[in-house]
Amino acid sequence: MINSPELSSQNTVSLDFLSSIENQAYHLFEQAPAAIVILKGPEFVFELANTRALEIIGRTREEVIGRKLEEALPELSSQGYIDLIRMVYNSGEKYISEESPVSFIVNGNRKDTYVKYVFQPLKDDEGIIKGVMVLGDDVGQQVLARKQIEESEAVLRKTKEQLELSISAGNIGIWHWDVRKNVMTWSKEQMEMFGVEKDEFKGEAEDFFKYVVEEDKEKIKAASRLEFERSDNQYEFRIKRKDGEIRWIESRSKTYMDERGNPEYITGINLDITESVLAREKIRASKEKNRLFIEYAPAAMAMFDKEMRYLSVSKQWMKEYDLTGDIIGKKHYELFPNILQRWKDVHSRCLKGAVEKSDEDFYVKDDGAPVWLKWDVHPWYSATNEIGGIVIFTENITERKEAEQVIKESEERFRTMANEAPLFVWETDEKLQTTYLNKAGLEYFNLDESIKMPALSWKKYIHPDDIEKVLRIMNEAARLHESYTLEMRLKNGSTGEYRWFLDKGAPRYAGEKFSGFIGTTLDIHDRREAEKELEDKVKRRTQELNQQNILLKQQNNLVKKILDSSVDLIGVYDTETRIISINRSSLNAMKAKEEDALGKKLVDVIPQMKDTQGYKDLLRAIGGETIHNEIYYSPISNRYYENTLLPLKDDNDQIYAVLVMAHDNTDLITSAKKLNEAQQIAFMGHWDWDVISGKVTWSDNMYNVYGINTDEEINLETFISHVHPDDQANVQANIEYAFQTQTFNDFFHRIITPAGETKTIHARGEVMVDKNGKVTRMVGTGQDVTKQKSIETQLIETSKKFEERNRFVEKLISSSLDLIMVVDKDLRFITINKKAESVLRKIIKDGPIIGEKITDINPSLIGTQPYLDLIEAFKGNIIIRDKVKSTVGEAQYYEHNYVPLYNEDGEVYAVMIISHDITENIRQMEELRKLYESDVQKNNFIAMASHELKTPITSIKGYVQLLLNAFNKEKETQKPLPPLLVRSSLISVDKQIARLTRLISELLDLSKIETGTLELKKEKFSLNELAIETVEDILYTNTKHTINLFHDFREFVYADKDRIGQVMINFLTNAIKYSPNSDKIDVSITRVANDEMAFSVKDYGIGIDKDEQEKIFERFYRAKGREEQTYPGFGIGLFIAKEFVQKHGGRLTVESEKGKGSTFTFTLPVY
């Protein structure tokens, strides 16, 4: 039975409560040596009657409880008791009687006794009389004892008289037995004594014998033997007379013996001593009865002689006064030396003939305990009618007194509780017949309150299947003096329905004897039903689950075999994230062993999973979501997967597990990522046109470029619709061309984004044909070149570097082919793919590869990382090794994947090696990096260039506007511009224009160099002359420095005068720029070797760092440094200068020391 704490406690409380009340009241109630009866109401219905009371009135509980007094004890009404009680009830006054005779009719028999009683009215809290309590006792004993004694005394007297009488009457029989002749002679009296007729007596000894009572025959025989041996004998025996009467005979005999001592004859006299024997008996019996009477009297009673010596004493007396051993004959005052004087006085008075008593005498014992005592002392008379001594009755009523109090208090409580309790309260007698059942019980059994208890056979309300158990348990409990608890079904008296009840009972005892049960019974039907249902449900569910488990296990085994051979990661998790099933690939990715993983929670196997998206996905799947990730990155294995998490439901639609499947597509992703990255950098999108179906697939970036939502479907029409109306014809034409020639020509077209932005797209592509030459597909890229277009510099657009970048991207598009090889445990090739073959063929030109050991074909493999990885893979681990340089000649880089393959027995029988050629990737990455860097440089350059160009323009504009302003305002009252101001303004303008021109021509030169369209206009001229001119020009606008010219060599050159001049200007302006704190510049023209001359410019300025000396000739490089101010100019001067010089076949060099200065030199071949 499932324990219900509320129920138990409720039960316990009620029973305990009941018990406590019960214990208290009932204990006192029951154990009270006096009778206690409670009559309720004006009809004096028996509420309570304790055992003692029932004894006295000679009724059973059923016969009285619940019944009116006059019905239960009708005999009382004629004796006036009921009137008496009514008087008490009405008046509210207590009534006491000392000794009243009363008769009870018990089973038709009359029982007379004497009772002492108190009729006490019972009031409630408000003082209203509710009933009457009767306290009393049967004093019949005492009275009878007294009378008994008187009787005995009388008997004694009478007996004595009789005896005397009988002796004087002389009933003596004489007999004579001749032993030798065996002749018996009886006298007339003898014959009379035995009731024998004269002629009946044959004169033989046997005649005598036959009258002896059976039991005494032995005695006679023994006596006869004695008579043979000695002369005087006396003995007693009983005879049965002819008329059946039993008489006691005393026989006295004399034996006459001859000289040899043999008996000759015996003569005897028989006395009929029956009367005296009887009297003796009577007296003895009476005395005995007396003694027993006293001894077993329920009261404390003692009989004393005149000296107060104990003649007899009751057990109760002994107990009450703590006396042990045999005190008969001892003096009372010796045993109780501290006896109060007043007692002694009472004794002495009674010894003189007084009768004294007290109903409620109170005194304090030696130990201080208070005692309530009821006592009774009167003298007893001997046969001679003299006072022989006194008899003392005492009764300790302390407890009863207390009981009275408690009962009054608890009675109501008990009643109320018993009736109000939601349980049945009941009581049985020793025969297990109900003697009391509370209101709740009566209601359930649909019984009237007035029902007679004996009529309630509760056993018939118990379910037939339970009755045997109930009786067995109750009897056992009674036997073992233990309480019991049981569950049983009881029939509802009105509905006939059987309901479950919890029954608790405690056995009661009157002394040693079992007297019945008291208990409670609680309706637990509903609760029990619910419990049963739950039990069943649990059982069913457990069964179901067990079955499911078995099924699942079976399925698991089957599936496991299939799953294990899969390269994909497959796992099944329960709703607590515990691993139910997992395939090899998964285990490998987790780097865990099966026995460590199965049954464990995921985060227990891989703690790092806790905060990952993967774990969150699992939890969501457990919650019921089906999750599919196109790209899922696992930080645990550092791979990309396409994964699916699928919740699994049982028949009740409850989720019991999640299936996780993941396909490793790291390679795909990384390539795609790289592609994406490359495309993003280049503002490039990727398009794929399936000509057959018409569908066009765009990369995300493409959508970006076109400014369209990625879920828009693209085909040829929709694509055209985005093209600028003016360019649509062109686009169509180009596509036509591609179809016809099966080659794709680059072209440009503008598009208009939905936002209204116009962009320029550079379209490139490839055409794919089937074996019949029919165009099936076109793939390509579209690059947003808007920005580039808008900047005047066409250089970037036509840059060769762009072409190179395209090539890289195209290479990315056409997927790089992987090498795939499978080797067995002996490292022999089982199978290889085409790509692998082509690579391997580089090592082993002819002959078989399949079946050969990989280490035989490529011995240099041994000991290398790939070799070690291969060995590791055979242990069952998936190995991924990135950036491995090929051992097969050329500079190839691979990413190797080693995947162990399992057979049915779960053993690794081969390893599959997938080698992904990442050479391109690596190169691309390098290129991309450079590209990026150069882009950054370019961007900076562009920004810088526009700034530089704008500066002189600003100045020019300023001056011009000023002048305009001045002239316009002349009409008004503005002051005119002083001519000097005008002049200086115009000079400034001129200067700025010169600056601007220089800048622009630098750009143009750069562009020409980039596109390779630089043309030199060579002529013969004097380098020295040019130097002089240039220096003069410089000095014109730069007055700070002194420029010294050293012509150590004079010669002509055949070169582009303009350009060379520019180089000179570049050197000089640099020298000036980078030596602000110096005032000297040295220019020298010297000879170098036979056919060369050199032009050098030396400054004493800030100099150039050694590591920068190389870089300054780079295209966009500008000398760095925060301390040094950066100087205006593009920073392309030296680059161009170098180009110019080199184009002439010369060299351009620099010598410099930081802080000291720099010398720039160019050489030219002499003409």
């Binding site: 920004a943 526009s946 700034h947 160009l949 704008k950 500066t951 002189p952 323009i953 600003t954 100045s955 020019i956 504009k957 300023g958 001056y959 506007q961 000023l962 302003n965 001045a966 511009l977 101001l981 200086s984 303004s985 400034s988 200067k991 700025q992 600056r995 925060r1122 301390e1123 040094e1124 101010q1125 950066t1126 100087y1127 205006p1128």
Partner: protein, 128 residues
């Protein structure tokens, strides 16, 4: 000549400085040139400056940094700063740096003078 007004022109390009000085003086305002922060600070501490016109891009220094510094310095924070640059996105940057106004290079003279007048008038009103 309105000798009470002094405008500081801060640009590393001497040509620009010269041009601006000329224009300002023509309109009757006093102008001082400075090619860098140091020179500018010298002028600011020596004389009472009513307006600073400066380039966002100075050689070796970030105009916006200088602008911030000027605006954080108690002495100079009340002096309006008009920044110019050739960079198209410069306006936002300049304004965020604390400049009171921005003009794009190459600037229209009329526009420039309007802004100058605005700031000088404002200053006059504040002082009154």
């Amino acid at each position: 000549m309105n000798n009470e007004v002094l405008i500081l022109v801060l640009d590393d390009d001497p040509d620009i400085c010269a041009m601006l000085k000329l224009v300002l003086e023509y309109h009757g305002y006093g102008a001082e040139e400075a090619e860098g922060e140091e020179k500018a600070k010298a002028v600011l501490s020596a004389r009472k400056v009513d307006l600073i016109i400066m380039d966002m891009l100075l050689s070796g220094a970030d105009g916006t940094d200088i602008c911030r510094r000027l605006k954080q310095d108690e002495q100079t924070l009340s002096i309006p700063i008009l920044m110019f640059s050739a960079h198209p996105n410069a306006q936002k940057i300049c304004m965020q740096a604390g400049a009171d106004d921005f003009i794009a290079k190459p600037f229209e003279m009329n526009e420039l003078m309007e802004k100058v007048v605005f700031f000088l008038e404002r200053k006059k009103v504040q002082q009154d």
